[in-house]
């Protein structure tokens, strides 16, 4: 028995403690869509492929809209979405939704910014373009640089619905294409305000408290931070084969407790 086998056996023992959804499977699993899902799924994929060298897992971004569309058209096995698929989408494609985490939607600023708390109304006014200077929010004078996401973003859709109450968004906002790009843009721009999957918050960006409630893991878990959404993995019809194994793994106790939570999301089990 060589070293790699020992390591992979040990890994699979830790990972699945008896029942291994990937046992006996091989091939390539294609995943695309929501960008909030990526860090968690990549970590899970790394464990799975280490234990099962015959399984390859390809994870791409694109946004929730892309995940839903590609899953529906059979271009990927699993489409990720940070929002519920609409009834029209579910009906058109025969989609099945699997929710494996709850994620907050946070308003974020640069750590160099002294603003750490705002009211929901203030945020809506800023995104509507009515308030354009940090001074009006009690900060150091300077233009507010607005950042938003493209139309494929589930994060944007939920933010627009829950935080902006479907209000207008100023057209001059800079558009970035993923949660990762949003985090990078905000962290490097001290006049920036944008919104981000709460799981992505670390020391490089500040999650602003809305009406006194900060987007912390604890507040999202206990429900006091209400700007939250599910993270879904979507299949066309019931999940089968590798896709089913992946979704079962995402919902396993080990992944839910040791990976989902560690990546900053709230487990569903």
């Amino acid at each position: 028995m060589n070293k790699i086998t020992v390591v992979s056996l040990a890994a699979s023992a830790i990972l699945f403690a008896g029942s291994d959804p990937f046992a006996g499977l091989s091939g390539t699993l294609r995943i695309a869509g929501g960008t909030a899902h990526i860090p968690t799924m990549k970590a899970v994929a790394a464990e799975v492929t280490q234990a099962h060298p015959d399984v390859k897992i390809a994870i791409a971004g694109g946004g929730s809209g892309v995940g839903i569309k590609k899953a529906g058209e059979g271009l990927v096995d699993i489409g990720n979405a940070g929002r519920k698929a609409s009834d029209a989408e579910i009906k058109k494609y025969g989609l099945v939704l699997h929710k494996w985490a709850i994620d907050g939607i946070a308003v974020v600023t640069s750590p160099e910014n002294n603003i750490t708390a705002l009211s929901r109304q203030q945020i809506a006014d800023v995104f509507a373009g009515k308030v354009t200077d940090w001074k009006a929010l009690g900060g150091h004078p300077g233009a507010i640089h607005l950042y938003t996401r493209d139309a494929a973003s589930g994060t944007r859709k939920v933010f627009w619905k829950k935080v902006l109450h479907k209000g207008t968004m100023a057209p001059n906002a800079t558009v970035v294409a993923s949660n990762g790009a949003m985090k990078r843009a905000i962290s490097g721009d001290k006049g920036a305000m944008g919104f981000l999957s709460a799981g992505f918050i670390d020391t490089s960006v500040t999650g602003v408290a809305i009406d006194g409630v900060a987007p912390t893991h604890a507040n999202i878990q206990n429900g006091s931070y209400t700007y939250a959404r599910g993270l879904y993995s979507i299949t066309k019809g019931e999940a089968k084969g590798l896709a089913k194994a992946m979704i079962d793994t995402m919902l396993s106790t080990h992944v839910q407790h040791d990976i989902v939570a560690a990546k900053g999301f709230v487990p569903v089990r």
């Binding site: 494929a152 973003s153 100023a170 906002a173 800079t174």
Partner: protein, 275 residues
């Protein structure tokens, strides 16, 4: 030989015609259902039934023209310098260097822009976040520059050597030769170089997507954020599948094709015009 070129022309025309038919076919429902005024408006707000693409037209034109202008001036200057340089290892080395620059994938230029150019612009030039027409235009000029400069260098190299000899014999300086003989002689090639650069600049998606900020507002200055038609197509294509907003990407494609034809036509006209 003649039949081969006829065949190639036929294939190319059929391809272009096919693209046109395809675009019009897919854009038709939107073109029928909404007056052109809506499509040529400034406001893009699909939730309110407004599909104005004019800001994107402005974004495309400003970024492409800025990039072509900067890139073309740079290419012409370098090509003239090359013409004046003595052949040798240095010249060889520089030529190979430009070839390498031309082979670097666009996304690498985009990354350099995000990591270096944007923060620099934010610090020193732009009142704002740095994502702007200027950022995309500058980086895009670097992307299209190698194509233009290589074409010009190769054209200039094909000048009959007696031209330079005659100019010298008449007591002309190198610069007089270049301005009075070389450039007028290669008027056609210069036009082609301009066409090549402009075509690449108009068609670019990645640089604009990464650096221009993609904002939906009508740009008023080069330091404003803007969205090109190509970036608009890329951003929309990901998001939707069957809405009027999705259909508008075919209208965007039609507009892009139209703009390219008009601009290229202008270059051909300029090229043919007597100096």
């Amino acid at each position: 030989m003649r039949s081969l070129s006829l065949f190639a022309t036929a294939v190319a025309s059929a391809g272009l015609g096919g693209v046109l038919v395809f675009l019009i076919g897919f854009a038709a429902p939107l073109l029928m259902g909404h007056p052109l005024g809506t499509l040529l408006g400034v406001t893009w707000h699909p939730e309110a039934g407004q599909y104005g693409l004019l800001s994107m037209v402005a974004g495309t034109l400003s970024i492409a023209l800025l990039a072509t202008l900067i890139g073309f001036i740079g290419a012409l200057a370098v090509a003239l310098q090359f013409d004046a340089m003595r052949s040798g290892q240095l010249k060889q080395f520089l030529y190979r260097g430009i070839l390498v620059l031309g082979a670097i994938p666009t996304v690498v230029y985009g990354l350099v822009g995000v990591v270096i150019l944007i923060p620099w612009l934010r610090l020193y030039v732009v009142e704002g976040a740095g994502w702007s027409i200027l950022a995309a235009g500058l980086m895009l000029s670097l992307v299209i520059w190698p194509t233009m400069v290589l074409f010009l260098i190769d054209s200039f190299r094909a000048t009959p050597p007696k031209f330079a000899a005659i100019t010298s014999a008449l007591g002309g300086e190198r610069i007089q030769y270049q301005l009075g003989v070389l450039l007028p002689f290669h008027r056609r090639s210069i036009g082609v170089a301009l066409s090549l650069g402009l075509a690449r600049a108009m068609g670019d998606t990645m640089i604009a997507l990464m650096l221009a900020g993609n904002s939906l507002a009508m740009p008023h200055a080069v330091t404003d954020s803007a969205r090109t038609l190509t970036a608009h197509i890329a951003l929309l294509f990901a998001g939707d599948f069957d809405s009027p907003a999705f259909r508008s990407i075919f209208v965007s494609g039609l507009i892009l094709l139209g703009l390219t034809v008009v601009l290229q036509g202008m270059i051909v006209y300029l090229r043919k015009a007597r100096p």
